[in-house]
Subunit: 453 residues, 2 copies
C-alpha cells in the first residue's frame, strides 16, 4: 500500500490544490457560498471513497460527518479538522494569490494550506487509500470536519452533546499544529486556551476639531490606549485583577525536558524578522509560547487613517484583542476580570462597550497511552525521526470539549512547520510534509489496531 501512496502523490497534490482554490473564509459573510462549496468538496471526496457521509446543517456553516464501516471489537478513532480558513488580508503581502495555490521551492502556498485543509486532508487521503486498496481497515475511522474553527466552533460545541453517540470513539486525532522544527516531528499534548474581545471607546457624538476642543474633551483614542496599556505591563505581565490565580507553575521535570529541545532564540527572532524576542522574565521562549498566558492586540481602529493630516478628536476608537490561556484558566472568569478592570480604569468623559467573542479553555492530553505509542511509531516510520512531545501556543477550542463530552483520548499530530505562516500572508505547507503526513496517517491506523508488544 505504501508503494501505492507514492504513485498517488500527483493526484494527492492536485486534490489539495483544488480544495485550496475555494476561499472558505468563515468570518466573512460575503464568503458564505464559498464556505458551502469547500464543505461539499470534502464531503464528495469522502463519499466517493465509499465512506458513509452526512452534511449536517448548523445555525452557521455545516458539519461534515463521515465513517468507515465498524470493525467488531476494534478501536474507533475520530479524525477532527476544519474546512474553513482565516481571512487572507493584507492581500498585497502575498507573493501569489491566497486562493491560487502555487508550489515554490517545495512549499505549497495558499490560505489554508497548513491550517487546516492540507493537514486534515492527509487523514482523508490515507483512509481513501486504505479503502481503494481493497484492504479492510483494521479499525473504524470517523471524520468530523467543521466550517467554524476559525470563528470559535460555537455551533459544533452546542451540538456536541447530542452527537456524542454518533461521534463516540476511543481517541480523537487532530492534525492542525506543527512539528517542533525542520526535521523534528512532534506529538503535541497541550494547547493554550483563548478569549477574544472587541473594545469600543466612544466620546463626543462626532469627530471634533482638535484645536477648538482639545483640552476640553477626552480623546477616545487616548482613553483606549490608556485602557489597553493598563492591561499589560512592559514585560508582558497581565495586570487584570486575579488573572494569574488559576495559572499553575510548570513542573520542573517538564521545564527540564523542554530545555533539551534544540531551540535558539536568535534563530527564532531571525525567522520572524525581529531584532530581539520579548516576554515575561524567568521563562524560556518555549515556556512563554506554550505554557504562559499572553495578551495581544489584534487590531486598532480610530479616526483618520487615510492620507495626510486631519486634526480631530475622533468620536470612536476600538481595539480587537485576545488572550491565550493556560489549562485551568476560565474564559468566563476572565471576562469578569476584564469588565472589572475596564470599569476601574476608564477615564471620565468616555463610555466603553466590550463585545465578547469566542473563548475556550486550554487543554492537556495524556501521553502515557497506547495511542501515543502508536503515533510515535507511525511518525518515526514516515518521517525517519522519533517525535518529541511538546505543547503548542495556539488554541483548538473544541479539543477540551471532545475530552469532556466524548471521554476519549486525544492525539495532536502536527505535520506543519512553525514558519508556515498560519493566519498570515504567504501561508504554506511543505509538499514533502503533506506526503509524509499521509504516510504517517496510513501507518497509524495499523499501529493503533496492532500495538507493538
Amino acid at each position: 500500500m505504501l508503494t501505492d501512496l507514492h504513485a498517488e502523490r500527483p493526484q494527492h497534490l492536485e486534490d489539495l490544490m483544488q480544495w485550496l482554490r475555494i476561499p472558505s473564509v468563515s468570518s466573512d459573510s460575503r464568503r458564505k457560498d464559498d464556505v458551502q462549496q469547500a464543505c461539499q468538496w470534502i464531503a464528495t471526496k469522502l463519499g466517493s471513497a465509499g465512506l458513509k457521509v452526512d452534511v449536517m446543517p448548523t445555525e452557521g456553516h455545516p458539519l461534515v460527518i463521515a465513517e468507515t464501516p465498524p470493525v467488531d471489537g476494534g478501536p474507533v478513532v475520530l479524525v477532527y479538522g476544519h474546512y474553513d480558513v482565516q481571512p487572507a488580508e493584507p492581500l498585497d503581502h502575498w507573493i501569489s494569490g491566497p486562493f491560487d495555490p502555487t508550489v515554490r521551492d517545495g512549499d505549497l502556498f495558499a490560505r489554508g494550506a497548513t491550517d487546516d485543509k492540507g493537514q486534515v486532508l492527509t487523514h482523508v487521503q490515507s483512509v481513501c487509500q486504505w479503502m481503494s486498496a481493497g484492504n479492510p481497515l483494521p479499525l473504524q475511522i470517523k471524520f468530523l470536519i467543521e466550517g467554524e474553527e476559525e470563528v470559535g466552533s460555537a455551533n459544533l460545541e452546542r451540538l456536541l452533546p447530542e452527537l456524542s453517540d454518533r461521534l463516540a470513539c476511543d481517541c480523537v486525532v487532530i492534525s492542525d499544529s506543527s512539528q517542533y522544527g525542520d526535521g523534528q516531528p512532534a506529538i503535541t499534548y497541550g494547547l493554550r486556551g483563548i478569549a477574544t474581545y472587541e473594545l469600543t471607546v466612544s466620546g463626543p457624538s462626532q469627530d471634533l476639531h482638535s484645536g477648538s476642543f482639545g483640552g476640553a474633551v477626552m480623546n477616545p483614542a487616548i482613553a483606549l490606549c490608556h485602557l489597553l496599556s493598563s492591561m499589560v505591563d512592559s514585560d508582558g505581565v497581565i495586570q487584570l485583577p486575579g488573572f494569574y490565580d488559576d495559572v499553575e507553575d510548570l513542573p520542573e521535570d517538564q521545564r527540564d525536558q523542554w530545555r533539551q529541545l534544540p531551540q535558539s532564540d536568535e534563530a527564532f527572532a531571525k525567522s520572524v524578522g525581529v531584532e530581539q524576542l520579548f516576554g515575561e522574565t524567568g521563562y524560556t521562549t518555549d515556556e512563554r509560547r506554550w505554557a504562559r498566558p499572553t495578551f495581544d492586540i489584534n487590531g486598532l481602529t480610530s479616526g483618520h487613517q487615510g492620507e495626510g493630516v486631519k486634526t480631530i478628536i475622533p468620536a470612536l476608537a476600538s481595539a480587537k484583542f485576545s488572550f491565550r490561556l493556560v489549562p485551568h484558566q476560565d474564559p468566563e472568569r476572565l471576562t469578569n476580570q476584564l469588565r472589572e478592570h475596564l470599569a476601574a480604569h476608564v477615564p471620565v468623559g468616555v463610555a466603553w462597550d466590550l463585545k465578547v467573542d469566542h473563548g475556550a479553555p486550554g487543554m492537556l492530553a495524556r501521553i502515557d497511552t497506547p495511542f501515543a505509542r502508536a503515533a510515535e511509531a507511525a511518525i518515526e516510520q514516515a518521517f525517519g525521526t522519533r517525535p518529541v512531545f511538546i505543547r503548542e501556543g495556539g488554541s483548538i477550542p473544541i479539543v477540551t470539549r471532545f475530552q469532556e463530552v466524548l471521554g476519549c483520548d486525544c492525539l495532536l499530530l502536527g505535520w506543519g512547520l512553525s514558519d508556515d505562516n498560519a493566519h498570515s500572508p504567504n501561508e504554506k505547507f511543505r509538499v514533502q510534509d503533506y506526503y509524509r503526513g499521509i504516510e504517517a496517517s496510513a501507518r497509524l491506523w495499523n499501529e493503533i489496531a496492532n500495538p507493538p508488544e
Copy 2:
C-alpha cells in the same frame, strides 16, 4: 450701499453654494483638479469685480493674490483666507452630502462652509459690493487666498519673504475662527500653535499567529499603545521631557476677564455629546482650550480592522497625533523632545519611525490698535452686539509669519460658531452670520479709513 447688501443676499448665498460644490480637499492627491477649480473660481470672482488678480503657482496648490487700486496716503489691509478644505470622511455621518451645500433651519451645511470658504467670501463680497456700487474704496485692500491651509501652508510660508513687497500692509484681516457664542461676536487675539506627527511601530516582518508567537514576540500595537500612553497622563498633562519649559503662566487679569464670559461646562458638554468635560486640573475650560497646550491622537491603524476575529500579532501599528502649542513653544524643539521620549520608552523587539508633518508656533496679537477699535465698531454695527476679546484653540499656521515678515497688525474676526463642526461631519455656517459678516466687513473698510475721534 447697505441697502444694496440686503438686495444682493440671494446672489451672495448662491455664490457661496457654487464654491462649496467644488471638493477642494488639499490633502487628497486625487482631488488635485478640484482644488485647482476652487482656486479658479475665487480668482474669477475677484477679477470680475475689477480687482487685479494673479494666480501664482507654487510647488503645491496655487496662491490667489488680488488687489484694489492703491489709495494715496490711505491704509493698506491684507485679507487672508483659504480655498482648500479638510477631508469629508466619515461620509456616512453627513445628513446631506459634504459637497452638496444644503440650507436647513437657517444653517448652510457643507465641507468648507465655515472653514474657510464662507468666512473669507464675506470679505470678497463686501469689496465686490464697494467696487460695483461705484464708490471708491477709502483704502487699498489686498487678498491672499491660498490652497494649503489645511495641510500646513508650507509653500506660502516659503514664498512669503519674496512676496513681502507685494503683500505689504498695515494690517492683516482673517476670518477663519468663531464668535464667542450665539449672539456674542468676538475679536480673537490669540491662537494656539500646532505640531502634527505620524508614528509607525514595526515588529515582525509580517502578521503572526498570536497563539504560536504570543509571548515570544513584542506586539507592535501594544508597543504603540504604551508609547502613546506614556506621552500624556490621565489628567491630560503631557509627559515629554521639558515640554512645559516655555509655557508661560496666564496673567491673572486675563483669567479674570475670561471668567466673566458666559461659559457653561454643562452646556458645552451637552453640545458635543459627552457626559463630562476633561482636562488639566486648575484651569477653566476656556483656559484649557485657548491657552494650555494639549495632545490628541487623530487616528489609529493596526492589524485586523474588518469583520470578525483574526488572532494575529500585527506587523505594524501606527498613529497620527497632534499637539496644540501656546505662544513661545517651538514645534522644532517639541520634535526633539518627542524623539528623545520615544527613544527612551520604546520597548525591545520593535522599531519606530516618526514622520514630522507640519508645525507652527502659537500667536498673540495686540488689541490696543486703531484696527482693533475699528473692528469693534464695525462688528457692533453689523451684529448689534459689542464684540468680546478672546483667544482660540485652533491654529492658523501662517499668522505668526505674517506678523514677522510683513511687520503688520493682525485682526482675527470670526463669523462662525463653535458648534459649526469645522473638520467634522455636517460642517455648517449660519446663513445670517454670513450676511452679517459681509456687512461687518463692508463697514470695517470705512471704520479703518475714518477712525472715530
